[in-house]
């Protein structure tokens, strides 16, 4: 792997191992995610790619029996340091899940503002600005500007997912984690989200987990291939997909297993 030397390092894992009880599901993984890039994590079901992602914002430790060893550095500081509050950390690292999860009791506006309100932002003017900016970034503003006070559940599945992206973007995180964000969407919705990835990497560092190799090839600058909890190979996407160094990577991307 050879990220451009000048790219400011944003997120890095060092010998990261994620466990459930005594069972390791991610083993000894070291990856570097340069700033303002999209990195894809691919691999067959159960390879630990989602668990790996959940270690990057300390969500894994909320699962029953979940804990980690190793280090995750955000701008050089270990996010697992004792002094660091995971709640504060999650405000710097946004996450979007497989299925859209709009808060059902809140309006479109309140959904987007939720992450700011919990941070103590109350000024109406400020919230209006941020909500509009986040919805524009998520390419949802034109469709929702006239019904911001309506329930978020009135939106289509694809719109709901973009709403969740807007909600994650509103607090201006530094990193955006996407956990199979298009798994429950139709092709049009999928295309929308993929285009967003290209747009958003100007502002954020993005890590996207996907089981769809074409998607990884389309959206990412770097790709990491996981198999049974091991990191098999990581590198520039065009290299990994055309000249993989590992036999198992080649077998997976050519569809011989997985």
């Amino acid at each position: 792997m050879a990220p451009p030397a000048d790219a400011r390092l944003r997120l890095e894992t060092l010998r990261l191992t994620a466990l459930y009880g005594r069972r390791a599901v991610v083993k000894d993984v070291s990856i570097l995610f340069p700033a303002h890039t999209v990195s894809a994590v691919i691999g067959p079901s159960g390879c630990g790619k989602s668990t790996f992602l959940r270690c990057l914002n300390r969500m894994h430790e909320l699962s029953e029996g979940g804990w980690v060893t190793g280090r995750v550095l955000l701008d050089g500081a270990d996010i697992y340091d004792d002094g660091l509050d995971p709640v504060q950390l999650r405000r710097r690292i946004g996450m979007v899940f497989q299925r859209p999860t709009p808060f059902p009791t809140m309006s479109i506006y309140d959904n987007v503002a939720a992450g700011l309100r919990v941070n103590g932002h109350r000024s109406r003017r400020e919230l209006d600005e941020v909500v509009e900016r986040a919805l524009r970034q998520a390419a949802l503003w034109d469709e929702t500007k006239d019904r911001l006070r309506h329930s978020a559940l009135a939106l289509s599945g694809g719109q709901q997912q973009r709403l969740c992206i807007a909600r994650a973007l509103a607090p201006q995180p530094e990193v955006l984690l996407l956990d199979e964000p298009t798994a429950s969407l139709d092709p049009a919705g999928t295309q929308h989200i993929e285009e967003l990835c290209h747009e958003l990497k100007r502002l954020y560092t993005i890590v996207i987990v996907t089981h769809n190799m074409q998607q990884a090839a389309r959206v990412s600058d770097y790709t990491a291939f996981f198999y049974l909890g091991d990191l098999i190979e990581v590198g520039r996407t065009e290299v990994l997909f055309t000249r993989p160094a590992q036999e198992r990577t080649e077998a997976y991307i050519t569809g011989r297993f997985g």
Binding site: M59, R90, G94, F97, T101, P104, G115, V118, L153, A168
Partner: protein, 281 residues
């Protein structure tokens, strides 16, 4: 049609008929009770019935104003004490209830749910009446004790229905755990919790046994919660078991009013459910 097809067809028809008959029986008995209440009680319902206090035995006239007000006060007291405790317990069980303590709490709640209400009454009598005296407060407390396990368990059920993904979404957004529980999870389950509370309140509104030796009953109008107080259920008990025709007439009318109150709560619960399904998908 083959022989087997015919048999299936007949069995299906028979079973459908049986189920229809059983539900018909359930509905008919309910309608009979309601009809009887209206037939025997409605004629006694007049302005005086709602505004007057009982008159001495033997005289005609009088009403149950004291019992209506007393029911509202004692049920209100019970709700004031029981709902926060019950909802809090339910939230705890659903959100943090995986340890041994939660197991014990859940077990105790289930046992208390099956405890006869008169036992709760004896308990309240021992601790609140014997060292002190009969009071509306003691009645309210005994009804609250009766209500807590019911509310706790329905709240738990309702909160558990909230998808786990919503909790994770809130946590990933930087919500602390307690705010996730209150702002996202409890809010999402709110309509269900409210419904559970209304049903719980309706259920205790007609309780008589624990009030017999806590609130005791009172022939006069009283709003002091430290004194004995009349309720509709106690009034019905006194009048129905008494020797006078006039009393029996009033008992029927009081029963109708009580039934109306409970029905009102039931309708409110239905309405709350409708609201839930209206907002959440």
């Amino acid at each position: 049609m083959t022989a087997r097809g015919l048999r299936r067809h007949l069995t299906s028809g028979l079973m459908t008929g049986l189920v229809a008959l059983l539900s018909f029986l359930a509905v008919v008995s309910l309608l009979l009770i309601l009809g009887d209440l209206i037939a025997k009680g409605a004629s006694s319902l007049d302005w005086n019935f709602f505004t007057q206090n009982p008159v001495p035995a033997g005289q005609s006239g009088g009403g149950v104003a004291n019992a209506i007000v007393g029911t509202l006060i004692i049920v209100g007291l019970a709700a004031l004490i029981g709902l926060p405790v019950g909802i809090g317990t339910g939230l705890y069980l659903a959100e943090y209830g995986s340890g041994r303590l939660a197991w014990v709490v859940r077990f105790v709640a289930d046992v208390m749910n099956g405890t006869p209400s008169i036992v709760i009454g004896i308990f309240a009598w021992t601790w609140l009446v014997r060292p002190w005296h009969f009071s509306a407060l003691a009645g309210g407390v005994s009804l609250a004790i009766l209500m807590v396990p019911m509310i706790a368990r329905t709240t738990e059920e309702m909160v558990r229905l909230v998808p786990h993904s919503l909790r994770e979404a809130a946590l990933a957004l930087g919500y602390p755990r307690w705010r996730t529980s209150l702002r996202i999870v409890a809010r999402t389950a709110l309509a269900g919790i409210v419904t559970g509370c209304l049903v719980g309140v309706a259920r205790i509104a007609g309780e008589t046994a624990p009030l017999l030796f806590t609130a005791l009953g009172n022939l006069n109008f009283s709003t002091s919660i430290l004194q004995p107080m009349q309720t509709l259920s106690l009034q019905i008990f006194t009048y129905a078991t008494g020797p006078f025709d006039e009393w029996h007439r009033l008992a029927w009318a009081a029963a109708l009013v009580l039934m109306g109150l409970v029905l009102l709560l039931g309708v409110a619960a239905r309405w709350a459910i409708r609201q839930r399904h209206g907002t959440a998908r």
